[in-house]
């Protein structure tokens, strides 16, 4: 390994051609960690490792996935305790140096609690846990997470959450909209972002957003569960392929 040098930017092995390396963070209560791991290893065919929440380094990883689940039993608030897990310092550092971070479902909730993304996820408007496929519209196809989609493309991706209603203050919403940081919106069968297409009462039908630098994103729907046709939809796959393109 003596010839291996790590890029200062991402900590990624230099040399070109190497496939990006993914980390899937495991908190006590994570339950979509295996879905994410399988998708990266078997569908994307990229190197991937689980990283336990007590770890303190993400050196050598290009993409960090915070998977879905009920970290720390959702005690206090979703993501509130996970946000202080030892690994989170390394997640901050990874994001700070421009590394990619993807938060799915509980991962999105954790990223909001950690202030890596603005706003918060609260109880669904109808109070029920909702587990079904929904329609999403790609709102910005020029980001490292979405460049393999078409602008305005409609996707079928499953949701599975009880607390997925995105909320934020007016100034934050304005900032998100103006800078096209809303990546996905819930839409109806006609592709319209109205109340009929909004499963949980999210503000402005927001399903996924990015940070200002577009290297951290969070979404409530599960693209990793929609990466192969046999699972009912392969529409989620392009999100991860977008990252591969961005890391080329």
């Amino acid at each position: 390994m003596s010839a291996t040098t790590l890029s200062r930017e991402t900590g990624r092995s230099a040399g070109g051609g190497a496939k990006p390396k993914f980390a899937v963070i495991r908190f006590p209560g994570s339950n979509c960690d295996q879905d994410a791991y399988f998708m990266v290893r078997d569908v994307l065919e990229c190197p991937v490792e689980y990283v336990w929440h007590q770890e303190t380094s993400l050196q050598g990883f290009d993409v960090v996935i915070l998977p879905g689940g009920f970290s720390y039993g959702d005690y206090l608030r979703t993501g509130a305790v996970a946000r202080f897990a030892p690994i989170m310092e390394a997640v901050y550092a990874h994001a700070e140096r421009g590394g990619y971070v993807v938060g799915i479902c509980n991962g999105f909730q954790i990223l909001c609690e950690a202030h890596l993304l603005p706003g918060a996820l609260v109880r669904n408007e109808e109070c029920r846990f909702i587990c079904k496929h929904v329609n999403l519209r790609v709102e910005n196809a020029e980001t490292p997470f979405t460049r393999n989609y078409r602008q305005g493309q409609t996707l079928r991706i499953p949701i599975a959450h009880g607390e997925g209603r995105y909320v934020c203050d007016d100034a934050t919403l304005q900032e998100l909209e103006q800078n096209e940081r809303v990546l996905f919106r819930y839409v109806n069968a006609e592709g319209e972002a109205d109340a009929t297409g909004n499963p949980n009462g999210s503000l402005a039908n927001i399903a996924g957003i990015a940070n200002a630098k577009f290297n951290v994103m969070g979404m409530m729907p599960h693209p990793e569960r929609a990466a192969e046709k046999i699972l009912g939809s392969a529409d989620g796959r392009a999100l991860f392929e977008s990252l591969l393109l961005a890391l080329k």
Binding site: A80, A120, V122, G201
Partner: protein, 81 residues
């Protein structure tokens, strides 16, 4: 040892989905006079002042960092001897 009581409420601007369900349930029990229900959280902390800085500063810090999410919640607290 001090006892601290913290009450956390959802910001008034936010729809309280749980509160609305409870309000509907009260209405079906015949309490038509209930105009609104908001559900919050109540926490009791028992602690010895750490000696550095004052207790109020420490409690506020705990509330802002972990016990509440300032994006969606407000809080009040009371220190009992």
């Amino acid at each position: 040892m001090s006892q601290v009581k913290v009450v956390v409420t959802l910001k008034p601007s936010l729809l309280d989905a749980q509160g609305r369900v409870v309000q509907d349930a009260l209405h079906s029990l015949g309490y038509a006079n209930v105009a609104q229900v908001r559900i919050g959280k109540y926490m009791e902390l028992e602690l010895t002042p750490s000696g550095e800085g004052d207790l109020d500063t420490e409690i506020k810090e705990m509330c802002d960092r972990l016990l509440t999410n300032p994006v969606i919640e407000n809080y009040t607290y009371e220190v009992l001897k």
